[in-house]
Symmetry: C2
Subunit: 286 residues, 2 copies
Amino acid sequence: MAKRDGAERPLRELLRVRPGEHVDLGARGADALPAGPSDKAAGVAATAAMADRLASLQERLYAAATAGDRRRLLLILQGMDTSGKGGTVKHVVGLFNPAGCRIKAFKAPTPEELKHPFLWRITKELPQPGEIGIFDRSHYEDVLVARVRAVVPHSRLVHRYDRINAFEKALADGGVTLVKVFLHIGYEEQRKRLLARLDNPEKHWKFDAGDIDERAAWPAYQRAYEVALEKCSTRAAPWYVVPADRKWYRNWAVGTLLLEHLEDMDPQYPPADFDIAECRKRLLAT
Amino acid sequence: MAKRDGAERPLRELLRVRPGEHVDLGARGADALPAGPSDKAAGVAATAAMADRLASLQERLYAAATAGDRRRLLLILQGMDTSGKGGTVKHVVGLFNPAGCRIKAFKAPTPEELKHPFLWRITKELPQPGEIGIFDRSHYEDVLVARVRAVVPHSRLVHRYDRINAFEKALADGGVTLVKVFLHIGYEEQRKRLLARLDNPEKHWKFDAGDIDERAAWPAYQRAYEVALEKCSTRAAPWYVVPADRKWYRNWAVGTLLLEHLEDMDPQYPPADFDIAECRKRLLAT
């Protein structure tokens, strides 16, 4: 298990939602600093300092897959509008070699997607062995917006949690390490970020007037998240609640979670499947 | 047109293969430094200094697409084994936001792919509006390895150049800016890089004994590249020959080509499609 300097326990243990645990998001500070750096300069430096190890572990994972290792990692990012899903991809996933990343942003389902079971579109975007997959939103939308907006009847909704757990268990059994991250921001922080988008013409394209209507449903969304975190934080696929009011802390925390999981996976470069001396001789003769 | 400091002409004009031009790769130095930085420290610094402008232009391109701009960029990387296609993706494409990149490495065609016309698998991987697509190998393999290994009869091969030109013209007309880069390395440099892979256990996974056999066909491959560059460097989709014996120069040159093309495209943030004052008022009332 990865240990961080000066920390008794790995971050994943501090942020993980335990199976059966009651989740009260209001009691979890969106601006908390549960471990690690305590100011922006230190946080930015600590995140940058992870880059080489993250990239090196990713290369090992990728290399191992060329020799049959089926393992891969899937980062799932969920959170309210402006919680920083896109920023996390840019600043944390950006530390990896992009060739080994498979990134998918899930939007509202298309008419084609709606014809299929809700997990259908998800299975098409899963990472291959050796890859790092990143979902910006995911199948959890189908128990979040679907619950808040009553898109499906409650009788169908309740089965979805079980189906998600079975699906994720099968993924884990197949070699997928799931890192499910809820980016937890506060109500006032969201207002601040939406206002910042309004105030900056270079951010207008990110603004959707519908976000203000969604904001009116804030308590219902928080409750929907609590239910999803409670029902779907399993041993095979735990949820992590990352305090995300501070962007630098969010980046450090997600980077650290990825690092801890990759270090646990401990992927190895495969041994040569050819005669090194013989190849060297042939090469020198060319 | 983008101008670089101290350069009379943009790099794209220096490296471009002109329509109708005779291409002699032997006469083009793989270790040349036709413009820009002249040592590694300066080259690495100059590439790093491009990062913010590249990322900013990419965001504008992406933002413009949300308002209907159909434009996108497609970087095609071709070159002999060890020429640095993967390294270019890591070090140059890695400067972009990964969420806006669509990267595809084309391998030997699968049985399924072989059932279809050779451009079939290519069309499925094209970037969407606002995206930056990156092909590590491409449809050009179908006039390179296909020519050297006589995979298809010559009578079929000759039509492929025309089909490629028509295909790329249609892409350009549809808003795709093509940046086709041949990473030009020398015969001795390839030997050095293959030996380096043999000497480093962490690089054995990248080594394929078949690469030594391919190396025996070096002159035929160089000729196949010359033909492809001559026949398929069009006004709509020019080829650029990047001297790639020095990795730092290759990275700087590809970065600069991307920058010059993105600056020419000059994508713009779209204007707000909502009432800013009204949204601000509604938001403050929440």
